[in-house]
């Protein structure tokens, strides 16, 4: 009798085990997450998305980024992950070209490479997951600035590093639009791009220089989260009537939005981005996704996402969600972003 009971107990345990395995499609899959810079709140929010997906799918993940925002720091982290035998890498690249070799090393070892937030060049990745198309992101910021300054005056851009792929792509779309002859940009005088290197003081100093060099400057577009509060604080101290817009965290900008230095700023939700990248990674690991244009995959609460051909020759998936922070909406976001 005892034996039978023991057998039943063991069987039920095994069965529950199977049941769990069925419930959690990601069980046994390990994902190595690499982001641009450790301690950067934006990527901490991204990691929260991986955590949310891990709770739902049951995969395990590790996450790390270099202290200094360098590509070589990322290469060391990726090599470490390869040695530990992860199944999928989810990378936000500091430089699109320099990670190609190490990513291919990973792929030769059977590891799938999903990039999120900032892509690796197409020959080094299986799929890129991005919030919205670069053109939409670029023109949203430019049009917001044009609206803020009443369609007329000098504007400048303060970017991150001069090599940052996202920022450079956005800036090229903005420059293209300004040169297109579209009448809504006719009275906009674009004075140029400066680089704050995603360092607070450097961004601050570059803004001071802009303000001094262009006494009639009307606006600064800041397509990087670290730069935006530095630029806004500098303008506030200088007591100048210069408008800011760009991609920012809500918590960083609440004060400046309330004070009217920025009318509105934008950002996708990095948590959703990490969440979507996780679902793509698990689909890759299970073989239900191969990264060809036209495929679809289930992304949990974000619904079904579609793989498209990307402008750089690889494939890409867009979430197509951009949040607006202004006087009305910013308070609802400060605890999230």
């Amino acid at each position: 009798m005892k034996k039978v009971l023991a057998l039943v107990l063991v069987l039920s345990l095994v069965l529950t085990g199977f049941a769990f395995a069925e419930d959690k499609p990601g069980k046994g899959i390990t994902i190595g997450v690499v982001y641009k810079q450790s301690g950067n709140p934006y990527f901490q929010a991204g990691v929260a998305g991986f955590q949310k997906a891990a709770d739902e799918l049951g995969f395990t993940f590790m996450h790390d980024g270099p202290d200094d925002g360098s590509s070589d720091g990322q290469i060391r982290i990726i090599e470490n992950y390869i040695a530990q035998g992860v199944d999928v890498l989810c990378i936000s690249a500091n430089d699109p070209a320099s990670l190609v070799d190490v990513c291919n090393e990973a792929r030769e070892a059977g590891i799938k490479v999903v990039t999120w937030d900032a892509p690796v060049d197409p020959e080094g990745r299986d799929l890129d997951v991005e919030p919205a198309s670069a053109k939409v992101i670029a023109l949203t910021q430019l049009d917001s600035m044009v609206k803020s300054i009443g369609g007329e005056g000098q504007i400048a851009i303060l970017s991150a590093m001069a090599t940052a792929p996202n920022q450079n792509l956005w800036i090229s779309f903005m420059e293209e639009a300004l040169k297109s002859g579209d009448p809504k940009y006719a009275k906009i005088d674009f004075v140029g791009v400066v680089y704050g290197d995603d360092e607070y003081t450097k961004s601050f100093n570059e803004t001071q220089a802009l303000l001094e060099k262009y006494p009639n400057l009307k606006g600064i577009i800041v397509p990087t989260t670290v730069g935006a509060p530095a630029v806004s604080k500098c303008i506030m101290d200088a007591k100048r009537n210069v408008k800011v817009t760009g991609l920012t965290l809500a918590s960083d900008m609440k004060e400046f939005i309330n004070k009217g230095i920025a009318d509105e700023t934008f950002l996708w939700n990095p948590t959703e981005l990490g969440y979507a990248a996780s679902y793509a990674a698990v689909a890759f690991a299970k073989g239900t996704l191969t990264g060809k244009a036209g495929e679809t995959f289930d992304a949990g609460s974000l619904g079904k996402l579609t793989v498209e051909a990307a402008a750089d020759g690889g494939t890409i998936t867009f979430l197509n969600k951009l949040n607006i922070f202004n006087n009305e909406t910013v308070d609802a976001w400060i605890n999230i972003l």
């Binding site: 450790s38 709140p41 100093n205 001071q208 220089a209 001094e212 604080k233 918590s251 609440k254």
Partner: protein, 334 residues
């Protein structure tokens, strides 16, 4: 002959004077390239340089005893973040208390550095590298008062206004605070027995010991002062920029050391004057402010230029000092 001798010996006495010449030369060059630079930017140079100036005073004390501290900017970020988080949680609302807390946190970390370095006999470079990693890593941790960084909404308006929007004789309190710290350091180093002992320990520790100076105590004191200055700098940073996070001021400790060395402070200890350090810190602040205005190109080129300017300044300074030293020897027929 005697007149020459007196000029050269004057230069020997005041090793920081050639640096003043270098600074004037650089200012002239920039002013030609960017007309009106000095008239527009002098206040920004002073404001942006204040925080580094305060840390330079602490660094001077550490360098004088023949030690070094590379944890200063990590202490800056840590003290600023802890105080800022406490303000965000509503624990502290008083501006003065913020400064006291910042100095206390900095002094405590500095004291640990000093004890490990002197009583523990670990070289200061490694001790302070270790503490800098530890305190920086603590900043975004959740168990340490929650928030992973401090942003403007967490600070009181009074605190944010304290250093920037209050002025005296046309200078914001931020600059006055730096001037105050410089004056206190000058008085301490030149007119107190303990201050003179810093020089004694650094230039000849055995002789100092024979005279009854407690070497380890002086070294711990120097590190404590340095930590306190970095903690104060952290609160100044928070009041100036209204934001602080894990990466704040990363790498800037090297510019603190560079400013001291530019100002003629010996890295082997025993020699260094506050006047030289002030000029060195002004030079670093000026280079930081001038390069973006010169619109030379992107960030990689500006860093290149920054490196060249630093090397140029220090080489010119060294050459001028060497010439005056040689003339001094010749003057004494050696």
């Amino acid at each position: 002959m005697s007149k020459h001798k007196s000029i050269y010996s004057f230069l020997i006495e005041h090793r920081e004077l050639p640096l003043l010449g270098v600074l004037a030369l650089l200012l002239a060059i920039v002013n030609i390239r960017v007309p009106g630079y000095l008239a527009n930017s002098w206040l920004n140079v002073l404001k942006n340089g204040s925080i580094n100036m305060v840390m330079c005073c602490g660094m001077l004390c550490v360098l004088l005893v023949g030690s070094i501290d590379i944890s200063t900017t990590a202490v800056l970020a840590f003290a600023g973040a802890v105080a800022g988080k406490l303000m965000g949680l509503g624990v502290i609302q008083n501006t003065l208390l913020m400064f006291v807390l910042g100095i206390a946190i900095g002094a405590a970390i500095g004291a640990v550095n000093g004890i490990l370095m002197s009583y523990g006999r670990v070289i200061a470079l490694i001790v302070t590298l270790g503490t800098s990693y530890i305190v920086r890593a603590l900043i975004p941790m959740n168990w340490l008062l929650g928030m992973n960084k401090v942003n403007p909404t967490q600070l009181t308006q009074g605190f944010k206004d304290s250093l920037i929007n209050h002025e005296f004789l046309g200078l914001p309190f931020l600059v006055w605070l730096a001037i105050l710290v410089v004056l206190l350091t000058a008085l301490f180093l030149n007119y107190t027995r303990t201050g003179r002992n810093l020089y004694a320990v650094g230039s000849n520790s055995e002789a100092a010991q024979m005279r009854g100076v407690h070497l380890n105590k002086i070294r711990v004191l120097a590190h404590t002062i340095c930590g306190a200055s970095a903690g104060l700098a952290g609160i100044m940073w928070l009041a100036f920029y209204a934001a602080i996070e894990k990466g704040s001021a990363t790498g800037d400790e090297m510019f603190t050391i560079a400013a001291c060395v530019l100002g003629g402070v010996s890295v082997t200890g025993g020699y260094g004057k506050i006047t030289g350090v002030v000029i060195g810190a002004l030079m670093v602040a000026f280079i930081d402010s001038a390069i973006p205005q010169m619109q030379i190109g992107n960030s990689m080129i500006t860093e290149f230029i920054k490196g060249i300017l630093l090397l140029f300044a220090i080489l010119l300074n060294v050459i001028l000092q060497r010439i005056s030293a040689k003339q001094d020897l010749a003057g004494r027929n050696i």
